[in-house]
Amino acid sequence: MSGPVVVIGAGLSGLVAATYLARAGHAVTLVEKAAEPGGMCANRVPISHFAVPPGPHLFTALDPKVIKELGLNLSFVSRDLPLIGLRAEGPPLVLPRDVHEARRSLAPLSERDSMRFATFRREHFAFARAMRTLWWEEGALSDEHARAELRRMQVTSATAWLDGAFESESLLAAFAFDVLAFSPSAAGSALLFTWRAAQEMCGLQGAVAMPAGGPSQLIDAVVKTAEAAGVTLRLEAPVRALDTDGESVRGVTLASGEALPAAAVLSSLSRRQTLIDFLPPGTAGFATARGLEKPQSCGEAKVLLTLSALPKAFEQPGRYVLAEKLETAASAYAAARSGDIPADLALEIVALPTGATPPILLSIVVRPVSIEPIGGWKDQATRLVQAVLHRLELHIPQFTALVAGLAFVPPKHRDPFCIAAMVSPWRARIETPLKGLYLCGEAAEPVPCLSGRAARIAAAIVAADLQEAKG
């Protein structure tokens, strides 16, 4: 056994990393500032008579290896949920994994798109499959065709890419939702579609799925595994600072003043929190500090509604997207960046049974929204919720009459998103400028998401580094 390891943050990533390292024989202490583990998956947003997680309402990128290797035995309420584009007029556009069904749904909107969809999907998924060697493991693109496609995608914006692929406004708007947490007109943002495709094509992970019992059930399963592996879980133990000699990290100091020496520290928190808030100024490097100075300006908010009954429009299990046009996506993003609430908000809606009263939870992700709107979220939350309700009322008459309770989750601060980091090696995202300090959460993912993959790979890197140091 090497020296002790400290993992910061008992969310999914922290738990997964801690479990892998404990299984590799390391003494692992997992510190969490909250009173319960789970992070964004913990049920801590009160609505009606229960609580729900502030984080994802669907898992779209769960690492199948993590599920299998940790023996999580997850069961899913639903998996492979289709993308359903709600339209102002006419039936919704349903895009399931079955390409023939998707084509049939597209045909009334655009014969051309319907004809092209199969080819598009085949080609794009072939590229996404090739990219999995980069995104799922530490690999390289071996296929010259894939490398050429990657070079093209790295300079193509999401809006230009979609515009060149399809003509149907409903289809374009539905697809565009996936990139609206970032700038849809930024060079390289087209790669975000490939990222999504790379995740969705794997049935093992239950792509676009919800575990039975919600995200907290996933956490419960990982906590059990972590405890069985020997992880020491310390709750209500916020970290005050990382202990460093200026070049490497020696451990952490908790807010209580207790010092936890460590041969390696893994942080599942953001890059900014880890490298700026916990370290003396300049320790992580001047360029790093400059890069993290301003957080991502736009993100996504969440509106949670409990309903007395399930509206007919949401009867089919699916991931519903309510968005206007692709053309307005860029201007909506610009409005959000400037601190306004965009007129053309895009919504992703999932209806979940609560098993209680009220019986339905409508979880709505709203994009793009400013991280810090003018006046702050204290003032703007009501405006945003009203805008969301208004949009839904337009599509579903008498919708507001069904609403029994509501909650709002403001967007969380994220590190600035860098397209170039999407194709950098895992080690480059996981390692930090300080020896002995690693990232294992969203900040180490190619695209911020809750997958557990970064945690698994970070644990492997840390274990190898500790072994090397020992040798």
Binding site: P281, G285, F286, R290
Partner: protein
């Protein structure tokens, strides 16, 4: 063409009868006052004055200024005594050189950095991390007095104070508050903009008996090169990206300016960049400057020429080069032209001019194999 003028510009205009100007850091400066070679040689026979006011000067004070200078530069500026200075590099996060300059400690909580090339955004935003107040000192004047008779001219002008090597002393000079330093090729007189012309006039009056001449930037470059001063912006292009990997101190042969025992920004990248190298001098057989290119010995690449220029004192082309591994004695080649490796400086300023052979003798052993 920028309209920025140094505080000495009015006097430079009077002296610059050839109307030969050049632009550095947006300042209009005399390139020469008649003959570059004569000006460069005059600094070795008598004394010359040169306007250094165009150089970037950044002042850092307050906050955790010691922690800042300790982290920002490759040598520990926090350990400096007030009135002394250090030749330093600053690196980006990947360990590539962003600049080279001289860090001067003016007081317990105040430092000034002098550099021919500015890097304001980088250093000022880094200073902000430490709560340090950073500002440009653009308005002040600096006049260099260089040459073997420089000390006598100062005495004739009524300045008896002598700063230590690489140090400075503030003094009152017949009612003018100035600072006298010895940081570069000779003495430097620091003054505020309003006093600049008085300083120029007093010095030239005192120097008349010593044939004091003003020199332009071209001659100053030659003198610096002969003295082995390898400058950012002129002799190498620094990294401008915060994470760009080149040029490393190793690639520039500037490892002697890095204190490995000290913790500084980019240290991890520096340590990972490979073995130390050393900057060396090259005496060249060619008649025109070489562009940066590979040095070979018996057909095998052994290093690189970084920059070169003509030395009127040595009457041949001289250049800076770095060599990987142990270097061979005797002749090497660059583009089929013979070169001879010598130590630096080629010709220290303040000595009387020597013949090239004597210069090589003065640096005997520099061409011998050595481990790096």
């Amino acid at each position: 063409m920028s309209l920025l003028a140094t505080p000495f510009h009015a006097r430079a205009v009077e002296a610059n009868r050839c109307n030969a100007w050049e632009n550095r850091r947006d300042y209009t400066l005399a390139q020469h006052y008649g003959s570059v070679a004569e000006e460069a040689l005059a600094a070795r026979f008598g004394a010359v004055i040169a306007d250094l006011s165009w150089q970037w000067r950044a002042s850092f004070s307050g906050g955790a200024v010691e922690a800042f200078v300790a982290r920002a530069f490759t040598r520990n500026g926090a350990a400096l005594e007030p009135g002394l200075s250090l030749d330093v590099l600053w690196l980006n996060d990947a360990g590539a050189v962003r600049g080279r300059g001289r860090l001067v400690r003016l007081a317990a909580n105040r430092f000034v950095l002098l550099s021919p090339q500015e890097d304001r955004d980088w250093l000022f935003s880094a200073a902000a991390l430490y709560g340090v107040s950073a500002s440009d000192q653009a308005a002040d004047g600096i006049l260099a007095l260089i040459g073997p008779t420089a000390r006598k001219i100062l005495s004739a002008a009524g300045i008896e104070a002598d700063p230590p090597p690489f140090g400075l002393v503030p003094l009152s000079w017949r009612g003018l508050d100035i600072t006298l330093s010895q940081l570069g090729l000779g003495y430097e007189l620091w003054c505020d903009a309003d006093s600049a012309l008085i300083v120029w006039d007093r010095l030239t009056a005192a120097g008349r008996a010593f044939a004091l001449l003003p020199v332009g930037q071209a001659a100053l470059d030659i003198l610096e090169c002969e003295s082995g001063m390898f400058a950012s912006g002129r002799d190498f292009t620094p990294a401008r990206d915060g994470f760009g990997p080149q040029p490393t101190p190793q690639a520039l042969g500037l490892c002697s300016l890095v204190d490995r025992a000290h913790t500084f920004n980019g240290k991890r990248g520096f340590l990972a960049a490979g073995r130390d190298t050393q900057l060396s001098g090259l005496l060249m057989g060619a008649e025109t400057p070489f562009p940066p290119q590979t040095l070979t010995h018996r057909g095998q690449p052994i290093g690189k020429i970084l920059s070169s220029r003509y030395s009127p004192a040595l009457q041949r082309m001289i250049g800076f080069g770095i060599l990987s591994g142990s270097w061979p004695s005797g002749e090497v080649e660059a583009d089929s032209q013979p070169c001879r490796i010598v130590g630096l400086p080629f010709l220290p300023i303040g000595l009387s001019p020597q013949r090239p052979d004597a210069a090589e003798q003065a640096t005997e052993g520099a061409g011998q194999p050595r481990s790096t």
